[in-house]
């Protein structure tokens, strides 16, 4: 079959109409897409304004509208998810975040938000997983502070869940990636490490900090805390004093210095002290324990009056068994005995500067410390110095 003249004319006409249609549809589509984007953007802007004003429900509605017009806009969906999270609508927020994660599984921001949702829902292993992905996945340059925030949140979560080794590792990562001028954050990492018992890592951080910033009081305080943790109270006092010179009004430094002085005053086990000094400190230690224990014991009952002889013909009190005798005073209990012994040991008498007396004082202090735990509850909150020194003596 051949193309006839008529068919040829029809073909040319149809092709011309087709080209015109394609061009016209192209123009219409461009205008449509522009309008679509513009409507999406205006809804998004309104959503941002509502969110900034704390009107989350209105913000959510606007973000939803924005997404109808521009469903591919990650920013819109992220903002919607954030607004939903702020409104505690976690299911919906998670649905949007999972959709985003499907499209971009390596996005750190999305993983961070999903981790926060998991934390809110107490799904800790899932949260740790998302946090770890958030930390190690891709972050846009503008969101880098949030990446650091993600690592902080992960570290805190690991601390809460008792995962010590990972916690220390994350803190060390935070330290090695810390922005150079942020001394406060470096010091915070050091103190957190110290709190978790990683004294060598903390010491390294504070030494580095003190070297780079000799006038930083926190660095000196940190070094003092490290020395204190290691039982080197003299060095600790030295560092705290230096810190106090740099920041005289810092309450934490003053408290740390006071505690260190207290410890030095009552610690008989410190090396390189004379026998007389050891005796004095042992006495101080016992006196402090005694004071602490007396403070928490109930006030002693007033001494009982001797019973008067009953008048002739008087009836015994109801409930009193006939022929019962006057109650005798109770024998002193063991605690009372130990308290009396301690008081005797502390009485103003000339102690011979002998090791055995110092040891007696220390033993009495330790025994009373145990009594204190039994009668007054567990830890001593009032006297941190005792809490520091006595376990050490017991250990030695």
């Amino acid at each position: 079959m051949f193309l006839t003249q008529t068919t040829l004319r029809a073909t040319v006409s149809v092709c011309a109409i087709l080209i015109l249609s394609i061009v016209a549809t192209g123009f219409v589509t461009t205008a449509y897409n522009r309008e679509r984007e513009s409507l999406g953007q205006s809804h998004f802007n309104r959503g941002q304004a509502f969110a900034a004003g704390g009107e989350m429900n209105s913000a959510i509605e606007e973000y939803r509208q924005a997404l109808i017009f521009s469903p591919d806009q990650t920013d819109y969906r992220l903002s919607l998810a954030r607004a939903l999270m702020a409104s505690k609508r976690l299911d919906e927020a998670q649905a949007h975040l999972e959709q985003l994660l499907q499209e971009d599984p390596t996005n750190g921001v999305i993983n961070l938000l999903l981790a926060r949702v998991a934390v809110e829902r107490h799904k800790i292993p899932q949260a740790v997983d998302y946090y770890q992905r958030a930390v190690y996945e891709y972050w846009p340059a503008s969101e880098m502070p949030a990446r650091r925030q993600a690592r902080w949140e992960l570290a805190r979560l690991l601390d809460q869940t008792g995962n010590r080794s990972q916690y220390i590792a994350e803190l060390m990562q935070l330290y090695s990636n810390a922005p150079a001028p942020d001394l406060k954050q470096v010091a915070e990492i050091g103190f957190l490490l110290l709190r978790t018992g990683a004294t060598s890592e903390a010491s390294e951080i504070f030494r580095e900090l003190a070297k780079n910033s000799p006038r930083d009081a926190d660095a000196r305080r940190g070094l003092g805390e490290v020395a204190f943790s290691n039982g080197d109270y003299v060095s600790a006092r030295h560092e705290f004093q230096r810190a106090q010179r740099l920041a005289p009004k810092n309450e934490q430094i003053s408290q740390a210095l006071a505690l260190t002085n207290d410890v030095i005053d009552i610690d008989p086990a410190l090396p390189h002290i004379s026998l007389a000094e050891r005796l004095r400190r042992s006495g101080n230690l016992l006196a402090r324990v005694l004071k602490d224990l007396q403070a928490c014991l109930p006030a002693p009952a007033p001494p009982q009056q001797p019973a008067k002889p009953a008048p002739a013909g008087a009836q015994p009190k109801p409930g009193t068994p006939p022929g019962s005798k006057t109650p005798q005073p109770e024998p002193p209990n063991p605690l009372q005995q130990r308290l009396d012994t301690a008081r005797q040991l502390l009485s103003p008498q000339k102690h011979s500067p002998a090791d055995d007396v110092a040891l007696q004082l220390q033993d009495a202090a330790q025994q009373l410390w145990k009594d204190r735990a039994m009668f007054c509850g567990q830890k001593s909150a009032s006297d941190r110095a005792l809490d520091t020194v006595l376990p050490r003596i017991a250990h030695e």
Partner: protein, 509 residues
């Protein structure tokens, strides 16, 4: 005249024309989509944002405008589009007027864009058929080809509207065109693909739905999927019964119903839309939101019922628009509801509700339109997940069989009957068991000697044998395995007897 000498076979010309039809249909669907969105942004977006009353009244105003367009200007543009395309194919030799395309475009974009609960796919199907018909006339196609070209356009239109080429092709083959040849299939596929490519070139590659990852967490979940199929089948049968009943009652009303009922249905949609805006229009945005777990199952249940109700009213009131999108919405929400309940009571084994929603989308569709293969492939195509095939097959076939049992007449056949039309139903044709030669032949001994002349095989259709009997009065029937073995003979009397017996059996049945 160099082009005049380019030799092209009829099949090649037909395929080229199919390509052209696909591109034109794709362009038309792009513009249709844009028109619906623009109207929707204006009526339900900008204006409704300022005045709440607009959201309430918009569907009613849209419905009355659309009805006026159809009733007063383009009367041939009425109906959803599927039966009208069938009318064109079976009784008008593939003729669809260009005014039908314009009327359909204008009326449906206004009614759907203003928020009436109807979809753009069935109108797209008819507009595609219209484009094909116009091009067929431009190229002076012969009569037999004109009848073939309309389904090609229909496939292009629906494929572009759904953004799913395979489902577009299958729907036309399953519902619109009962008999098809290799050329027809090739043209339909080519048109559908070119329409989808054109549509994506202008509107982007985004799928109709943003589908979450599908997961089958436990084999026992297949029971839940079967349950979704049962629910989809029941609801679709109930929906059809309600459409039939309402339409029968509305037929009794005078002609003013054409102008009063659509805006009344639109007003009701507006009222429901104040609480559930997701039910307004085609509902794709709501379905997308639900597919990403943004509604709890109780809300999904309300949305299922609300959408089914407003669609029932809008469709039976004859507001211009289609049924496909609402069917997907209702099925999806129903699946999500049951999935949510399953997830609530069986959280360890049950997948997220969105997975059930995805499967549910096909169940109502399969039950209502009786196109199980299309519905399976549509969900498969939309989800691009191989894992989904098994649950979808179980759910959709269950829905299809149950709906067929409860309401034997297919949806479009029922509508045609209500309109007093006798259109062939593809499903009825599929179910029809034609008599074969072995049902009519007179059996003889295998030792019977062979006679010269035409021979038949026992499995050949009796209709075909009847034609041969006009050439030869007695035909021997031989085995396919042993050509020299005569199984029987066939005469005109045998055929008459067979048809007579068949007719008696049908009456008895």
């Amino acid at each position: 005249m160099p082009l005049g000498h380019i030799g092209l076979s009829e099949t090649q010309r037909f395929l080229l024309l199919a390509l052209l039809i696909g591109v034109f249909s794709g362009l038309l669907v792009v513009l249709f989509h844009i028109a619906i969105d623009m109207i929707s942004w204006t009526s339900l977006g900008a204006l409704a944002g300022r005045f709440r009353l607009v959201r309430l009244l918009s569907p009613a105003v849209g419905a009355i405008l659309a009805v006026l367009i159809v009733r007063k200007i383009f009367p041939r543009a009425k109906g959803s589009g599927v039966n009208q395309t069938k009318i064109a194919i079976y009784s008008s030799e593939g003729y669809v007027s260009s005014s039908t395309i314009i009327g359909k475009f204008a009326a449906c974009s206004i009614s759907i864009g203003s928020g009436n609960s109807l979809g753009p796919e069935d109108p797209s199907l008819q507009m595609g058929a219209g484009v094909a018909s116009v091009l067929g006339r431009v190229f002076h196609l012969p009569r037999n080809n004109m009848r073939l070209i309309a389904p090609v356009g229909a496939a292009a239109g629906i494929a572009a509207a759904f953004n799913t080429p395979i489902s577009g092709v299958l729907f036309v083959m399953e519902e619109v065109l009962a008999d098809w040849s290799a050329t027809a299939v090739g043209s339909i596929v080519l048109a559908a693909v070119s329409a989808v490519v054109t549509m994506r070139a202008f509107l982007g590659n985004d799928p109709l739905f943003r589908i979450p990852a599908f997961e089958l967490t436990h084999v026992s979940e297949l029971l839940v999927y079967a349950g979704i199929g049962i629910a989809g089948g029941l609801l679709s049968a109930l929906f059809m019964w309600l459409v039939e009943t309402l339409k029968e009652h509305m037929e009794q009303l005078p002609d003013w119903r054409y102008y009063v009922l659509p805006p009344a249905a639109g007003f009701f949609t507006g009222v429901v839309g104040l609480w559930f805006p997701e039910v307004m229009g085609a509902g794709y945005d709501g379905l997308n939101s639900a597919l990403h777990g943004q509604f709890i199952w109780q809300v999904l249940l309300y949305l299922t019922l609300a959408k089914a109700l407003v669609t029932l009213l809008s469709f039976t009131a004859e507001t211009p628009g289609g049924m496909f999108a609402p069917a997907l919405f209702v099925g999806g929400m129903l699946g999500g509801t049951l999935g949510g309940i399953a997830h609530h009571f069986w959280p360890l084994a049950a997948a997220p509700a969105e997975s059930y929603m995805l499967v549910g989308m096909g169940t109502f569709f399969a039950g209502l339109f009786r196109v199980p293969i299309t519905s399976i492939f549509m969900v498969f195509e939309l989800s691009a997940s191989y894992v989904i095939v098994l649950p979808v097959m179980i759910a959709n076939i269950t829905a299809y069989l149950l709906s067929r049992k409860l309401h034997p007449k297919p949806f479009f056949k029922m509508l045609a009957d209500l309109d007093g039309l006798n259109l062939p139903s593809a499903e009825e044709k599929r179910n029809f068991q034609p008599l074969r030669v072995e049902d009519a032949m007179y059996r003889v001994s295998p030792a019977t000697a062979q006679e010269p002349g035409i021979r038949l095989y026992p499995d050949e259709p009796l209709d075909a044998a009847l034609r041969l009997l006009s050439v030869q009065s007695r035909i021997q029937v031989v085995s396919r395995l042993k050509q020299d073995e005569v199984l029987g003979t066939l005469t005109l009397d045998d055929v008459h007897r067979a048809y007579g017996i068949a007719g008696q059996e049908v009456e008895e049945g």
